[in-house]
């Protein structure tokens, strides 16, 4: 494939695979990183990919990180164990003066709802006890009388 190779755009992109797994890919150009490193002090050479969770009303919190060695300016990875129905984003940063200097940030994605989260979604009606919620695959009385050829 050569399409991506032709683009000069620095990229960090996050995609949802399942409610608990996201996929992220990145591509950074050396001159982009050099542009940063040449002008700020006290940075390390290594890059770090960080996954943030952003709950409503709270500041984003880092929930996972991956150290990217200098050679891997192009890469991808999966993050597992996400909370369903939660917003996430990623950043690639340089370690910097005890903190982090963000080089690039991905858009936010929302991991879809999965199993019902207790307290938030409550089934507002109960199914009658006498009839099961799902009618099973069954045969009519006439069919039951005949032997099914299995």
């Amino acid at each position: 494939m050569r399409a991506w190779a032709k683009s000069r755009e620095n990229n960090l992109y996050l995609m949802v695979q399942t409610p608990k797994i996201v996929f992220v890919y990145w591509k950074l150009y050396p001159d982009y990183i050099e542009m940063a490193k040449s002008q700020i002090q006290d940075t390390s050479d290594s890059l770090v990919l960080r996954l943030f969770r952003h709950l409503t009303g709270r500041p984003p919190e880092e929930v996972a990180r991956l150290n990217i060695s200098d050679g891997s300016l192009t890469g991808s990875t999966y993050f597992y164990g996400l909370m369903p129905y939660t917003t996430y984003f990623t950043e690639i940063s340089l370690a910097y003066q005890g903190g982090n200097f963000t080089l690039i940030r991905s858009k936010h994605v929302i991991a879809p709802p999965a199993e019902k989260i207790a307290g938030d979604y409550v089934v507002t009606h109960a199914f009658p006890d006498t009839v099961p919620p799902m009618v099973p695959f069954t045969y009519s009385p006439e069919e039951i009388k005949q032997k099914r050829d299995v």
Partner: protein, 932 residues
């Protein structure tokens, strides 16, 4: 009356597998098999039901790629030829199996079947199956809908435009064929993501289908579970797949197709008999399915036994009856619970019926017959009919889901195929750039752009990622993606170089022109992109400025605003790249000027220091430039001050573009020298910028000398272009009445300063001078407007001088307020200690207020002493006080300076002149650049 409804939905789709050159292209067999096994039998069944006046409706989705192949005259001919070959093969089988009764009976069965299909295809339908579907729809037997252009999996696309294009092109293809737009749509793989509904609503899609959990996990949880459609705020309706009807048909273990009397799919003579024999009829290079199969499912771990069609067909009646019975039980159950009349939505791949499950069409027919006979509990319906009668149950928010493995995106996004997406996304983004300026219809460039869209659409087909994941025909799928993206790159090169290879383009078109012949690339036209590409007036200009209205810290924002407007008025194409304050749009058109805004990721002072915030600003500028520049390299960069220098220089290097830098002020000048490490850093960056720029512009001779001396650059590189002023933008009515009382009474003079409250503006000199003025003219007030780090210090100084009751600090004022204060003031004072130009003094002159300025920097060049203003030595408070007193005492002097000042501002300092000189510089650097 029925208590509920059943929507039977068949989604018919094949990827585009037509090959211009090879009449025996292997993958075209998929098309031939699907027509033979599924689509033709479905149509024959519908005709039979119609002839017998059996009512009942199905919903059928025909994908655009399938529709195109069904309509293609060459494929139609090839298919007829294929059927003839099947007939010949069947005849050969009849001859070969003579003496083997059971095999011979089956061979005769297939011969009769293939003859019937051939007769129907060539005779009854004239090779035009889409018209046959349309006829069935007109008869009320079908609701016809469609899906996305090439069945692209929407949740994994990057841009909204790509999603819109898949939907829009799909709908247009259907409408072009059938003469109407479908009410509903089949989302490829039922793939949905949060927010897709707004795009569907824009395209007037009334309803779509989701997998069961897509609706079950809605917020709030739907009251009627999946047995009534829901809608989102955009108004699009969503029908959810019923899991029971799926299990009964799809389930490998317990579903109907696994019944032991049904035909075994995997025992085909194409694999059972010698290749040479089969190849006489179906000339493919590998063993292939022929559709002639002699065995039944029989059971696991048992020798396969002979297939008996009559027994199998009897089973379909039994299974259809069972299906009907279970639907009745379901409806009876849900009718007691749901608020809306329950509707069971049973979607299936159309190819299940006939191709995978040979007896499937007969089963469907029996279901329809049974449903038409027993209508007490439920009736067959369609989604639009249900919505017409009952609407949606409730409004919810929906999130990502699909009907693929795992229920989300795993089948199309996993380690086997995740490498596709950087490729796809890159192509999407680049297509947006190309579609920002769509060439006229009929031009070679337009044909190239149209084909670019086709190639991307074809690459995006979800089938490829699916095949790679499934491990079936992996190389074919990879080759398809690779081929389409290679074509995409070749076409891009043609557009970028302006050289269209007609032969190559024609070859690509011929392979795909039947697909979306009237494609309109406007679906890809990005909203957030500049449409200004007219280069008749020279190169495009990309200005970089850290501030731009509404973000105004000092004169820089106004300079960039006024200059760009004047350039645009002269026909120059101008874009501006600037920082993004809160609540400003990322893109807007300011007249003919494209304004792009972007914000650094972290907050200055909170997470990183100011200088490093500037570094980050330059990084995001550079990244955004990737979207703006590559397809518009007829561009000159224009950087304003060191703050954007790093980005400008990086862009210059990346795209080999000429660079002009305007230096509005220097760090050395602002501070009277370079002392701190931060000042050293900034000074080095200023030096590097002026050294690397092709030309340097500054606003006064004073600045030109400063730059030449300070940075050691050749004088001929530096150009003085004085700032202009737009007098109409400054004039305003004076403040009167109660409003004026806020500042001063009617009989009091007003001395006015406006500017940043920083050391170099010399406000403390004014505060030192004011006591001398108040001594002689106690009926005077001073108004000091602006914000800056020295505000508290200056207020304290006023208190110390005992003049706090005569000095009003207004804080930041808008341009409108400033103009009114100019119109109201008796004198405007600008006691700067360093002033590269002093545009605010010029603005005061244009407003018609007499000025007293420090004879420093550019301001000293603007004002002529005692002709159009008064000049004093910088830092001299007594001299400043005398100058102010002379104006307050001499009305005639005030009037004369006002008049001359206004005249000078209007005639000497025009932005049109400044823009003309700046444009000359752009032309010069562009010429030099193109000569290299």
């Amino acid at each position: 009356m029925a208590s509920g409804y059943l929507n039977l939905v068949l989604h018919a789709h094949l990827p585009f597998v037509y090959n211009t050159n090879d009449p025996h292209y292997l993958e075209e067999r998929w098309f031939f098999e699907a027509v033979t096994d599924s689509y033709l039998p479905l149509l024959i069944m519908l005709d039979r039901l119609h002839a017998e006046q059996v009512p009942g409706t199905l919903t059928v989705s025909l994908s655009p790629t399938l529709l195109t192949m069904l309509d293609h005259p060459i494929l139609s001919k090839r298919y007829a030829d294929y059927l003839k070959r099947l007939i010949q093969l069947s005849e050969s089988e009849v001859a070969r199996t003579k003496g083997q009764q059971e095999y011979n009976d089956l061979a005769l069965f297939y011969l009769a079947r293939h003859n019937r299909l051939y007769e129907a295809y060539t005779g009854q339908y004239h090779g035009d199956l889409p018209s046959a579907f349309a006829t069935a729809a007109q008869r009320g037997q079908l609701e016809l809908i469609t899906t996305c252009a090439t069945h692209g999996f929407l949740p994994l696309m990057k841009t909204k435009e790509a999603v819109k294009a898949q939907i829009g092109v799909g709908l247009d293809c259907f409408a072009a064929r059938f003469g109407f737009k479908p009410q509903g749509m089949w989302l490829p793989e039922c793939g949905y993501f949060h927010g897709l509904d707004t795009i569907l609503a824009e395209k007037n899609v009334r309803y779509v289908f989701l997998d069961t959990h897509g609706v079950r996990h809605a917020v709030p949880t739907p009251q009627d579970d999946v047995y009534a459609p829901v809608q989102t705020k955009s108004g699009v309706a969503f029908f959810a797949r019923d899991p029971e009807t799926s299990a009964q048909v799809w389930s490998i273990g317990s579903g109907y197709p696994g019944d032991y009397d049904y035909r075994e799919y995997y025992r085909d003579i194409g694999f059972d008999l010698p290749e040479d024999y089969i190849r006489k009829f179906l000339p493919y290079n590998i063993p292939v399915n022929t559709g002639l199969k002699y065995y039944r499912v029989t059971g696991e771990n048992r020798q396969k036994e002979m297939y008996h069609p009559e027994i199998a067909y009897a089973k379909t009646t039994q299974h259809a009856g069972n299906f009907h019975f279970n639907r009745e039980k379901q409806i009876e159950h849900w009718a007691r619970i749901t608020n809306h009349p329950p509707v069971i939505t049973a979607p299936y791949d159309a190819e299940l019926f006939g191709h995978w499950w040979f007896e499937g069409p007969e089963f469907l027919e029996e279901v329809v017959r049974k449903a038409s006979q027993c209508t007490d509990v439920f009736q067959l319906s369609t989604p639009s009919r249900y919505l017409d009668n009952f609407g949606c149950a409730e409004t919810v928010e929906l999130y990502h889901s699909s009907w693929g493995e795992g229920g989300y995106s795993r089948a199309w996004l996993n380690p086997s195929n995740d490498w596709l997406y950087p490729e796809y996304h890159s192509a999407e983004e680049r297509l947006l750039s190309h579609a920002a300026a769509i060439p006229a219809n009929g031009t070679p460039e337009r044909r190239v752009l149209n084909q670019l869209v086709r190639e991307l659409l074809l690459a995006q087909s979800s089938d490829w990622a699916f095949m790679i994941n499934a491990g079936t025909t992996v190389e074919y799928a990879k080759n398809r993606v690779d081929g389409h993206l290679r074509n995409f790159l070749r076409l891009e090169t043609m557009l970028n170089k302006g050289l269209v290879d007609q032969v190559e383009l024609l070859a690509m078109e011929e392979a795909t022109l039947c697909l979306f012949p009237d494609i309109n690339p406007s679906e890809y036209a990005p909203k957030q992109h500049c449409t200004v590409t007219d280069h008749r007036n020279g190169p495009s200009i990309l200005m970089l400025s850290w501030e731009y209205p509404p973000q105004i810290m000092g004169g820089l924002a106004r300079h960039v605003d006024d200059l760009s407007q004047s350039l645009a008025n002269r026909g120059q194409a101008v874009s501006i790249l600037t920082s993004q304050p809160v609540s400003t749009p990322a893109f807007e058109m300011n007249g003919n000027i494209c304004v792009y805004r972007v914000a650094p990721y972290q907050k200055a002072g909170e997470e990183i220091d100011f200088h490093d915030w500037v570094v980050q600003l330059n990084l995001v500028f550079f990244n955004l430039a990737q979207k703006i520049i590559p397809n518009n390299q007829h561009t000159v960069l224009h950087a304003h001050d060191w703050l954007v220098g790093a980005a400008a220089l990086a862009m210059r290097r990346a795209w080999h573009l000429p660079l002009v830098a305007t230096i509005h002020a220097t760090e050395h000048g602002r501070n009277g020298g370079i002392f701190s490490p931060l000042q050293h850093k900034i000074h080095r960056q200023e030096k590097y910028l002026v050294e690397q720029a092709d030309r340097v512009i500054c606003c006064s001779n004073y600045m030109a000398n400063e730059i030449i001396q300070l940075f050691g650059i050749p004088a001929q590189k530096v150009h003085v272009i004085q700032n202009g002023v737009v007098p109409e933008n400054i004039l305003a009515q004076p403040i009167k009445g109660l409003q004026r009382q806020h500042y001063a009474s009617d009989d009091e003079f007003i001395v006015f300063f406006v500017g940043r409250l920083v050391k170099e503006k010399g406000v403390e000199v004014l505060l030192d001078a004011l006591p001398y003025v108040f001594e002689v003219y106690p009926n005077t007030k001073a108004i000091i407007s602006g914000k800056g780090p020295m505000l508290e210090e200056l207020a304290a100084q006023a208190r110390q001088r005992g003049i706090a009751d005569r000095v009003v600090f207004t804080g930041f004022i808008t341009d409108f307020e400033r103009n009114r204060l100019f119109a109201t003031a008796d004198v405007a004072v600008f006691p700067s200690l360093y002033e590269p130009f002093g545009i605010v003094a010029l603005e005061a002159m244009a407003a018609g207020v007499p000025v007293v300025v420090s004879d420093v920097g550019g301001m000293g060049e603007v004002v002529e002493h005692e002709k159009d203003g008064l000049k004093v030595h910088p830092g001299n408070a007594k001299e400043l006080a005398e100058a102010v007193k002379s104006l307050l005492s001499d009305r005639a002097l005030r009037e004369r300076l006002k008049k001359e000042g206004r005249l000078k501002a209007a005639t000497v300092y025009s932005w049109n002149a400044a823009a003309g000189m700046t444009s000359d510089i752009y032309h010069k650097v562009w010429e030099e650049h193109t000569r290299k």
